[in-house]
Symmetry: C2
Subunit: 257 residues, 2 copies
DNA sequence: CGCCCGCTTGAGTTAAGTCAATGACCGTGG
DNA sequence: CCACGGTCATTGACTTAACTCAAGCGGGCG
């Protein structure tokens, strides 16, 4: 019964939600086969973004929500003085653009950190389908809530007194999120950070020098192996410790120099 | 045409969304008369909360969303060490509980800062009505998005290097939100803070001593008049300046001592 | 009336910021 | 192919704003 539908149009299939690798993480999670077809009808198409290109800007009208399919984005705001605050990094399966629902205008910027591809969900159409398909409505609420919980995590991270704890939590969270869709092995993880040190700093409310020093410190402590964008987590257990309190290991700082 | 409906049942009226003073700020905004009746049917009833009582706790199942009708709440999380991070303060017209939509469990606590009253919106019923009433669906999304934008404001505030800027932004935001529903005059504002200095500190990621010192400093600068919970903003213009950059006025610190 | 809790203030410490210089990589063009 | 310039990252020396610890104040409540 399903093979029938699948053979018909390979091209269509490739872009359909039902066959997407992110199926279970994205909007379709928990939506039945028949309704998936309708959801598909709400997906305009895929869009490719080069590194550095903007998906939307502060002030842009609400056109659509966007699912990250591959690559990654950052969302951020600029204040009057041009200072950046990064609001979030967005990985495959995550949805961006919710900030515009309140006022029908975006109030932040979204930019590709690397070559990325995006599913565009025109909002008017999405809303229509959500009304027809209660399961989608529920899932949409679930996804927004997930975003909100992620915001809370960000807040908690920024509230930490010790910058080292902040960075540890950031790295932990990033590995968790990458593992979710890459099915990576649990230990001995190598991350390729799509964002710059500057971005990390502005995400955490720090300056870039502090972030750089913290990477060096964690390297020195044997927690990480760092080579530019590549971060290998040698001791996930120690990293987890650092998430809780840096105080136990600060003595290391002068120990091995 | 409307007087007719209004006289029928004063008791019912008192609790109905159509007659609520927060009408335009809360869920009913933009929903027609007929649909309002349905929304009303989704509101279980009003609940009174004493100061310090919990509306929900981390781990509680999702029962309902809650509208603050009067008074105020704080939402927060505790880490393993028992340290607090305040996620938000919630004033009349604002809705809390969205954190539970993702997993059907709350992942934060909500506590009344003062005697408060709450409209309870059982979620299953709300969802049902949202499916029947597309305008409510849209408004619900709008409200969640508003929460998300508020989270972003919180993030930006916490990202500031200068604690004085953080507190200035906090106070500015609080006056703006109080004005929204109290229709206060624009200048010469007196706030009665429902939260402790400790709460403010934990909201901003600071320690209580720093917050206390900042209040004293702003008092000394002539921006505020502070008497325990009562904060009178003498110079809204200066407060607005402090939101942008403290650097210009830090010299004041030793000037008038 | 007095205790307790929340707030303020002071003195000293420290972690993170600032400023500045150097180093490593990358893409471009000779 | 290599030299060059630019950007990003690292590191060092110094400064400073916020934290810690500690004491004292004051208002509200029993």
């Amino acid at each position: 019964m399903e093979s029938n539908a699948n053979i018909l149009d390979l091209n269509q299939l490739r872009r359909s939600c039902g066959s997407c690798a992110l199926h279970e993480l994205c909007l379709p999670a928990g939506i039945g086969r028949d309704d998936l077809v309708r959801l598909d009808s709400a997906v305009r198409d895929r869009r490719a973004l080069d590194q550095g290109s903007m998906l939307y800007r502060d002030g842009d009208g609400l056109q659509a929500l966007y699912v990250v399919r591959s690559g990654s984005l950052k969302s951020f705001v600029l204040n009057e003085a041009g200072e950046v605050q990064i609001l979030g990094f967005h990985l495959p399966g995550e949805i961006v653009g919710f900030d515009a629902l309140a006022t029908d205008r975006h109030v932040s910027h979204a930019e590709a950190l690397e070559a990325s591809s995006i599913c565009e969900l025109p909002y008017a159409r999405l809303q229509q389908v959500a009304i027809e398909v209660p399961a989608l409505h529920r899932q949409l609420m679930r996804v927004i809530s997930r975003e909100m919980v992620e915001e809370h995590r960000h807040t908690v991270m920024m509230g930490r007194q010790q910058a080292q704890e902040q960075l540890a939590i950031f790295l932990k969270n990033l590995t968790d999120r990458y593992q979710r869709y890459q099915r990576l092995q649990r230990d001995a993880i190598t991350l390729t950070l799509p964002m710059s040190r500057y971005d990390i700093a502005k995400y955490l409310g720090l300056v870039v020098e502090t972030v750089s020093r913290l990477f060096s410190r964690m390297k020195e402590m044997g927690v990480l192996e760092v080579d530019r964008k590549s971060v290998r987590i040698l001791r996930p257990d120690l990293l987890a410790d650092l998430c809780r309190s840096s105080s136990v290991s600060t003595s290391k700082r002068r120990g091995t120099g």
